[in-house]
C-alpha cells in the first residue's frame, strides 16, 4: 500500500510539473511584454521530443546512454523520499532521511557532471564544472541550515521532524530554526537553477550546457528529471520548514503540489528581475549572504536558543 502511494506521489508530480513550468514561462513572458506560449507548451515540448530522432557525439560511451535514466532515478528517488503521503508509521519512514536525500542529490550531480565530460562538448564541460562549483557553494549552506534543524529536532529522519514541527514541539518559536529557514529557502532557489545563478533555458547557457548533446527521448527524460529535481528541492524546503498536513494522504499530496507549484511560479519574480552573474564574482559574493545567515542560525543553536 505504501508503495502505491509512493508511485502515486511520483506520477502526480510528473503530471503537474510541466503545467507549473508552463505557467512560469507564461508569467515570465508577460513580465517581458511578450505574449508567451500557452501554459501547456511544456507538455507539447516533451511530446515533440519523444517523437524526434536522435544524434550523438562520436566520443560518447555507455554513460551517454545510461545517464538520462540515472538522472531520472536519482531525481525521482529524492521526490519519493519526501514524506508527503506517508508518515512515521509507514515502512518507508525509515529511509526518508535527510542524509539519504542529500546524497541522492549528490548522485544526481555526479551523473550530471560525468555526462558532461562524456560528450566532449566544450559547453558541456563548462556546464559540468559550474554544476560542481555551485554544488560546493550550496552544499555548505544546505548542511549548516539542516544541521540546526536536525540537532534541534534530535533526528535526521524527515517524518519525525515533520511530526515534531506539526505538534508544535519544535518550530518557528525557536530563533535558530526561523533563521535557518531563510538561508535554506535561498539555496533551494539556487538549486532550482534560475537567474541570477543559472538559466536553464538555452543550450549554450550554463547548466543546460551539459545537455547540449542530448536530444530526442533522452532529452525528454532529462527534462523531466530536471523538473522533478527542482520540484523536490522546493518540496524539501516545504517539508522541513512548512510541513502543513491535511491528515489524509491524497489531500496532503494535492496541497503539497499546489504549494510547490506556487513557489515554483513565484520564483519567476526573482528570476525575471535579477541580473546575470559571472561565476567567480557574483555567485561567490551572493552566496556569502545565505552562508552568513546559516552561520548565524548555527551560532544561535550552539549557544542554545
Amino acid at each position: 500500500m505504501s508503495f502505491f502511494y509512493l508511485l502515486l506521489q511520483l506520477i502526480a508530480a510528473l503530471m503537474v510539473a510541466p503545467l507549473f513550468d508552463g505557467m512560469a514561462r507564461k508569467l515570465r513572458a508577460r513580465f517581458q511584454s511578450r505574449v508567451g506560449p500557452s501554459i501547456f507548451q511544456t507538455y507539447r515540448d516533451l511530446f515533440k521530443l519523444l517523437k524526434r530522432g536522435r544524434t550523438k557525439s562520436h566520443s560518447t560511451s555507455f554513460i551517454y546512454t545510461l545517464s538520462p535514466y540515472l538522472l531520472f532515478v536519482s531525481a525521482a528517488a529524492i521526490f519519493c523520499l519526501l514524506p508527503i503521503t506517508y508518515g512515521v508509521d509507514s515502512p518507508l519512514a525509515g529511509i526518508s532521511d535527510i542524509f539519504v536525500l542529500l546524497y541522492l542529490s549528490a548522485l544526481f550531480r555526479f551523473v550530471f557532471i560525468i555526462a558532461g565530460f562524456d560528450t566532449a562538448n566544450p559547453f558541456a564541460g563548462v556546464g559540468s564544472s559550474r554544476e560542481a562549483t555551485i554544488g560546493f557553494y550550496s552544499e555548505a549552506v544546505i548542511i549548516i541550515s539542516l544541521v540546526v534543524v536536525m540537532l534541534g529536532a534530535g533526528n535526521s529522519n524527515l517524518p519525525v521532524i515533520v511530526e515534531a514541527v506539526r505538534a508544535g514541539e519544535y518550530g518557528y518559536l525557536i530563533p535558530s530554526y526561523a533563521i535557518a529557514s531563510t538561508a535554506f529557502l535561498w539555496v533551494m532557489y539556487v538549486e532550482t537553477a534560475r537567474k541570477p545563478y543559472d538559466l536553464a533555458e538555452a543550450e549554450q547557457e550554463l547548466q543546460e550546457g551539459v545537455l547540449g548533446e542530448y536530444c530526442g527521448k533522452d532529452l525528454a527524460i532529462i527534462d523531466m528529471a530536471l523538473m522533478l529535481k527542482q520540484f523536490s528541492m522546493l518540496g524539501f524546503f516545504l517539508i522541513v520548514f512548512e510541513p502543513w498536513g491535511m491528515g489524509h494522504s491524497i489531500l496532503s499530496l494535492l496541497l503539497f503540489l499546489v504549494e510547490v507549484g506556487v513557489l515554483y511560479v513565484l520564483a519567476v519574480f526573482i528570476d525575471n528581475f535579477g541580473p546575470r552573474f559571472t561565476m567567480n564574482k557574483g555567485v561567490r559574493i551572493t552566496m556569502l549572504f545565505p552562508f552568513s545567515i546559516a552561520c548565524l542560525a548555527l551560532m544561535l543553536y550552539v549557544i542554545g536558543v
Partner: protein, 646 residues
Amino acid sequence: METIYTLFLLASLLSIALYKKPLWAHRLGFALASLFSLYAAIFFFSHLGETLVWKLPGSFISAPTFRLDSLGMLFSFLISVVAFAVSLFSLDYARFYEKKANLAAFASLMNAFILSMLLVVASDGVFSFMLLWEVMTLISALLILINDGEGASKKAMIYLGIAQLGAFCLMVALLVMASLAGSFEFSEFGRLDISEGASIALFLLLLVGLGSKAGMFPFHVWLPLAYGQCPSNASALMSGVMIKVALFAFIKFSLLLPLSSTFGYILLLFGGLSVLFGVLYAVVANDYKAAIAYSSCENVGIIFLGLGAAFYGIGENLPVVALLGFVAALFHILNHALFKSLLFMLSGNLYTATGSKEMDSLGGIHKKMPFTSILFLVAVLAIGALPPLNGFASEWVTYQAMLQGGVEEGIAPRLFFTFGIIALAVGGALAIMAFSKAYGALFLGLPRDEAIYEGIQEVSSIRLWPLAFLASLCVGLGIFMGEVVSLLSTMVASYIPTANAEDASTLSMPLVVLVMLLCAVVPFVLLYITKANHAPIRVTEPWACGFIYNKNMQIGSNAFTGDIRRALRFLLRYESESKMEGYFSRVTYKKKARDLFWDRLYEPVISWVMEAADKIGIFQNGRTNLYAGYILVYLCLVLIFGYYHL
C-alpha cells in the same frame, strides 16, 4: 595463527632465495602470498570474536607474546582480504617493474610487509610492537624505492622522516604508559589511573605518533609523494591497510587511557580539518595518483570523526554515542580499505597501460579499457559516498553518531560536533567534484594525446578479477549495511560495558535500492505509453556552436576546477610554467598545485634543521685526535658531575 605467520615468513624467504631467477621467484612469491592470505582471511573471519594467544618459543631478547582479541581479529581479517586481492593482482602487475628492480626482492618484500602488518596488530608487548612497527615502516620505504627514479630517494626520505617523528612520539608515550602500569605487556596495562593533564599529554603524543602514520592533517604531506612513487600494488597495501594498522594501534592505546570528552573534541577538530584539506588538495590535483592519495587524508579524517564521537561518548558516559561512533569508525575503516586499494590498483592498470599520470594528457580510455573503466566507476561511486554503495553506508553511521553527540547541552559539544558534520558534508561535495573529474577526464570524452591513446590496451584478466572481487564487496557491504552494522556493534559492545548492541541505528539500504528500482521503471513505462521514437541513434561530431570541432575544446582537469581554485585561492599555491618558443609555435602551459602546508610548515623547519646541522657540522671535521679530545672532555665532565652529586 602462528601457522599463518610462519607461512608468510617462508614465502618471503623462499622468494628472496630464488633471487637468481626473478621471474620464477615473483610468480612463486605472489602466488604463495595470495594463497596464504586467502587462508588467513578465512581463518580470521571464522575466529571473529575469539581471543587467540601465541608466545614466541625460545627466548628472543625478551619472550614476546602475540595476542589477537576481537578487534585485532577484525583488522587481521581486513589485512588478509586486501592482501589476497593485491597479491593476486601483483602476479601480473609486478612484471612492469622487471627492469627497475629484482622481482624476487619485490615479492619477498611484499610478503614481509603483509607479515609485519599482521604481527604489529597481534603484538602484545611494547618492545615487540615498536620493533615490528619500525620494520613495517622500513619495508614500506623500501617498497617506495622499488620504483627507482627521479626523486624517489627524496620521497622515501620525507616519508621516513615523518614516520620517525611519529615513532619517536609513540615510543615516548608507550614507555611512559608502561612505566605507569608497571608492565610491558599491553594486556596487563589495565586502565591507567592518571590525572587528566597527563592523560591529555599522552593522548597528544599518541595522536602525533599514529596520526602521522595514518596521514592525518597536518602530517598528510607524505601521502602524495610516497603513494605516487610506489608501485601501485604496494601503495594499495600502504593506503588500504598500513594506515589502518596505525588507526588500530591508536584505538587500542587510547582505550587504555582514562578517556574524557576533551579527547573527543581534539579528534573531531583534526578529523574535520583532515577531511577539508585532504579533499581540497584532491580536487586541485591533476595527477590521478596524487588525487587518490590526498583522498586518503580525507577518509582518515572521516574515521577520526567517528572515533571522536566514540571517545566523547565514553568520556561523558553516553553509551549510544560511543557505540555508534566506534561502529562508524570501524565500518569506514573496512570500506576505505576496500575502495582505496581498489582505486590504487586501478591507477596501476592505467599507469602501465598509458605511462602517464597526468589527467590532462589522457581521456577517452573507456573505449580501450572498458573493464578497468567500469571498476573505476564503482570505486568512485563508493568513495564519493553515493547511495547505495558502502562509502555512503559508513558515512551515514558517522553522521548519526555525530548527531547524537551534537544534541547534548553545552557549547563545546555542539560547536565541535556541528563542525564535524559540516566538514563531512562539505568534504562530500568536494569529493564528488574530485572524483567525477577524475573519472570524466580519464575515461570519458576524447583522447587528449593521440600518441598515448594508440598504445593503450586492456590489461590481462588476472589483473581484473581481484579488482572485481573488491568492487563487488564494495557494493555488497553497502546494500547489506544492516548486517555489517549489527556484526560490528556486537563486537564493539563487548568493549563498552554500558552499551547495548541493539542501539545502533541502521538504514534499510535494500529498501532504498527498491525505491530506486521502482523509479527506474517509470521512464520506460512512459516511453512505452507515449510510443517514443526508438530509431537507431546517428553519430556525429560534437556540436561546437557552429565552429569546427577540435578535441582541445573539451574541458580538462585543470580548467574544470578553475572556478573553485579562484574561489579558494587563499588556501592554494601554484607553480605555473608557460613556455613559448616562437611566435607560431605551440605554447606549453603547466600548472601544478603546491601543498600550502609543505611550504609554510615543513620547509621552514627543514631549513632550520639544515642550518643547525651546518653549525654543528664544524665539530665533525674527521680528525681522530679531535674525537679523542671530545671523549676526554666528556669523561672529565662525568667525573666532575659524579664527584659533586653522588
